[in-house]
């Protein structure tokens, strides 16, 4: 009897995790990913594998910056803007609120930008575009290359 009770409780906890804790766990993941993707002396032009991949998909770093900025500016409400790898191609994914590309296997995350108002409001007030510009000056391209190498390994 106690065995079945244990299984029952286990299932309840799993369901609880998915429905009630998902947003907390997702936000924990998202924020960790965000911190790792920025650094004090970051920014500049991408190098290594990520540079190649950006030029493959977006033709130039400038074009990538423009597109990413547009996606980040046009998102309605809270969210995260992700650079992901899917089918060996880079893509930009707009996650609403706490959505992450991990759920539903949307793609492998390479970089992310938090566009919840709390991420920029104190420094930039409503000027999300100034915040986005500054984020490009802080990108940790090593982290992007690391994520790329890990996700490419998983591809057949």
């Amino acid at each position: 009897l106690t065995f079945y009770l244990f299984i029952y409780l286990f299932i309840i906890i799993i369901l609880f995790y998915f429905f009630f804790f998902f947003d907390l766990l997702a936000q924990l993941y998202n924020h960790n990913f965000f911190w790792l993707g920025i650094k004090e002396n970051g920014g500049g032009k991408p190098y290594g594998e990520i540079k190649k991949k950006i030029e493959e998909t977006f033709f130039s770093f400038k074009n990538f910056k423009n597109q990413f900025t547009q996606e980040a500016l046009s998102h309605f409400g809270s969210g995260w803007i992700w650079l992901i790898l899917k089918n060996n191609k880079l893509k930009i994914y707009q996650g609403h609120d706490d959505q992450t590309p991990l759920k539903g296997a949307i793609g492998h995350p390479i970089l992310t930008l938090d566009i919840w108002e709390h991420a920029y409001y104190v420094d930039y007030r409503n000027a999300r575009s100034d915040y986005i510009k500054e984020w490009f000056n802080k990108i940790n391209w090593d982290f992007a290359n690391y994520n790329l190498s890990v996700s490419l390994e998983g591809q057949c």
């Binding site: 409400g77 809270s78 969210g79 709390h118 409001y121 409503n126």
Partner: protein, 222 residues
């Protein structure tokens, strides 16, 4: 006597331009009080940014979207019309919601409602305290950006509490008639309360304009 807070932008178009469209453009309503009038509960900087930047942007973008929608209608381009729906909902909702919000607040607000509205609150929620708890809980519980609402359910003739995500307008998405809205987008409180949304929600009860909420309620019942 009361000087009203105005923005540099969003004024009514001069009548001469009226012929350009078959509809009037939306404009940013003036606040019925100064930016600093709601202090210390909501500070002047928040009010100014909220009104002059955020609400103004919804108004401008709504006008732009409606222009495009008119063109799409004229061309019979249904695909384009559908593609414009999210922008209409977002900016239209933002304009509606904030227009209601400014009237729901007052420097002379606070306390409790009286008369028929108070009776309805007691009838539908048990007591004013219970109603307050419910509305606070709904507003705190919004994940991401959105609004907490006291609305009126015309079919049931009852007051109802609801929460809407993003700028989804209450009536357009749920059918409830909006009486009192609480903006819980971070721009509504972050500069003053940082992440402490519950503190902002506690403070806002001091500036609720119950006269306005009552007016809206009485108008529903007709």
């Amino acid at each position: 006597m009361l000087s009203r807070a105005v923005c540099g932008t969003g004024r009514q178009l001069a009548p001469a331009l009226g012929y350009l469209g078959s509809r009037q453009k939306h404009s940013l309503p003036d606040l019925p009080y100064d930016y600093g009038a709601l202090e210390p509960h909501i500070n002047a900087e928040i009010m100014q940014l909220h009104h002059c930047k955020h609400h103004a942007a919804y108004v401008n973008n709504l006008n732009v979207t409606e222009e495009k929608y008119q063109e799409a209608l004229a061309k019979g381009d249904v695909t384009a019309q559908i593609a414009l729906q999210p922008a209409l909902k977002f900016n239209g909702g933002g304009h509606i919601n904030h227009s209601i919000f400014w009237t729901n607040l007052s420097p002379n607000g606070g306390g409790e409602p009286k008369g028929e509205l108070l009776e309805a609150i007691k009838r539908d929620f048990g007591s004013f305290e219970k109603f307050k708890e419910k509305l606070m809980a709904a507003s705190v519980g919004v994940q991401g950006s959105g609004w907490g609402w006291l609305g009126f359910n015309k079919e049931r003739g009852q007051l109802q509490i609801a929460a809407c995500p993003n700028q989804d307008p209450l009536q357009g998405t749920t059918g409830l008639i909006p009486l009192l809205g609480i903006d819980v987008w971070e721009h509504a409180y972050y500069l003053q309360y940082k992440n402490a949304r519950p503190d902002y929600l506690k403070a806002i009860w001091n500036i609720i304009n119950w006269e306005n909420v009552t007016e809206r309620y009485m108008a529903c019942k007709k």
